[in-house]
Symmetry: C2
Subunit: 235 residues, 2 copies
DNA sequence: TTCCGAATCCAACAAAAGTTCCAGACACGC
DNA sequence: GCGTGTCTGGAACTTTTGTTGGATTCGGAA
């Protein structure tokens, strides 16, 4: 069961407003792998994840994927389209079987018109989303792939809220989609972090060895010399 | 003189509300090159450009610049920090001498609490900003530099509203800052677009020859074969 | 167990982007 | 007209990223 009060978006909205939101929401269930809505399609409304894991992503003309977020309950998505009523800005797919509440654009606008707390919450949520996107934009502009990978492992503010699975449990393919590159490149970067002594293998996955080193790498694009492992190859 | 009704952000706000906004605003003037506010500093409030050209940018640890927008009157900036009261998400500098009205975070919050139209306008503006950032993010993720350059010249939705100077009047240095790269790379890309017959030189600057070709390049990262100029070098 | 598909590892190569350097062109103020 | 600083053109080189292809490991289903 979904505890509506636990949803960060609705912090500040009174019981009365919550009840109205619940009344306006329609519940949908999706099988693993099923599409929830498509980028560019008519606004699908405001979505609340009650259960399951949801991926938001975009695809380019050559078919490469960019995962914007991996979200699990309780969280919300598609706020932007829900608010302006235009096309969905990304695709959404259920990674696992998922249960989702949907509030239509019109219903949300109507509720925001009567419930000031909801309107305020929306403003806050949009501002927060803006900051997140800007952070991601700077990552793509300034950081190398090893640096972005380190940041992903640190699970910091940028990715922490949006991408919920710990990176150590993601496949290289999934990490690549999140970082906006290809699996091979992620594999190489992982090997480098391993050799540099920042990560170590733990079974199938990776564990953090040197958090400070990862932080340094995330911030400066450089592996700190003090923690770098000695070269193995002799010329 | 600034015509407050001409500011897109305030579309829908009534005369009464506009008067209150004007009363809350403080006018500041800046010389060419003068800093308006700094990234990370305490929230500088909501800014309205009455006159002049303003650059919003970020800097990375190595000192490279990323120009997020080049704005001229009438337009607004720093909405996000003005709304959530946190640190400014970027630097702002007056490119030319500029005159700017500033409304503090507290004043804006108060006005939004009494003026529903202003609150709605803020929601719309934040949604629009979100879409712009997402578009830019995808540009950085998926497009090559020639492709981004073509998009800049096409002056399309992504850059059209935010970056007001026509690209043909920007220096290579400025284009590089907008695209998130370096001057040399922009120079090379420009030469390629020239050789491919998509642009031509017009005095100091460039003019568009083949708009469809630029569009194709912007969308697919490929220079269309039909318009490509014959190779000059023979092996 | 055996087989199968998914995920990984690794090497070699290709392409894109970043760096360094220097030579001209041009605009502007003196 | 003459320097001076900004902007541009372009070559040569390095690094990073993307691509290809094959070998290997792993876990679960038959």
């Amino acid at each position: 069961m979904l505890d509506w009060r636990a949803i960060p978006y609705f912090a500040g909205v009174e019981a009365n407003g919550l009840a109205q939101l619940q009344a306006a929401a329609h519940r949908h269930t999706f099988n693993a792998g099923e599409n929830i809505f498509a980028e560019g399609a008519r606004c699908a409304g405001f979505h609340i994840i009650a259960d399951g894991l949801v991926r938001l992503y975009r695809v380019n003309s050559e078919g490469r994927l960019h995962t914007l977020s991996l979200l699990r309950a309780p969280s919300t998505f598609n706020e932007v389209a829900a608010v302006d009523g235009s096309a969905n800005p990304f695709n959404a797919v259920a990674v696992t079987a998922a249960s989702v509440y949907v509030i239509s654009h019109n219903a949300l606008i109507e509720l925001m018109a009567t419930d000031r707390a909801l309107l305020n919450a929306t403003v806050r949520a949009l501002a927060r989303l803006n900051r997140e996107y800007l952070e991601r934009l700077e990552d793509m502009t300034f950081r190398t792939i090893p640096s972005r990978l380190a940041k992903l492992f640190l699970h910091d503010a940028t990715y922490g809220d949006q991408i919920c699975e710990t990176p150590s449990q993601l496949t290289q393919e999934e990490m690549a989609a999140i970082l906006g590159t290809t699996r091979e490149v992620v594999g190489r970067a992982l090997r480098n972090l391993l050799n540099a002594g920042l990560l170590r293998k733990q079974g199938r996955y990776f564990a953090i060895v040197d958090r400070a080193g990862l932080q340094m790498l995330a911030e400066t694009n450089e592996v700190p010399a003090s923690t770098r492992a000695p070269e193995l190859k002799t010329p």
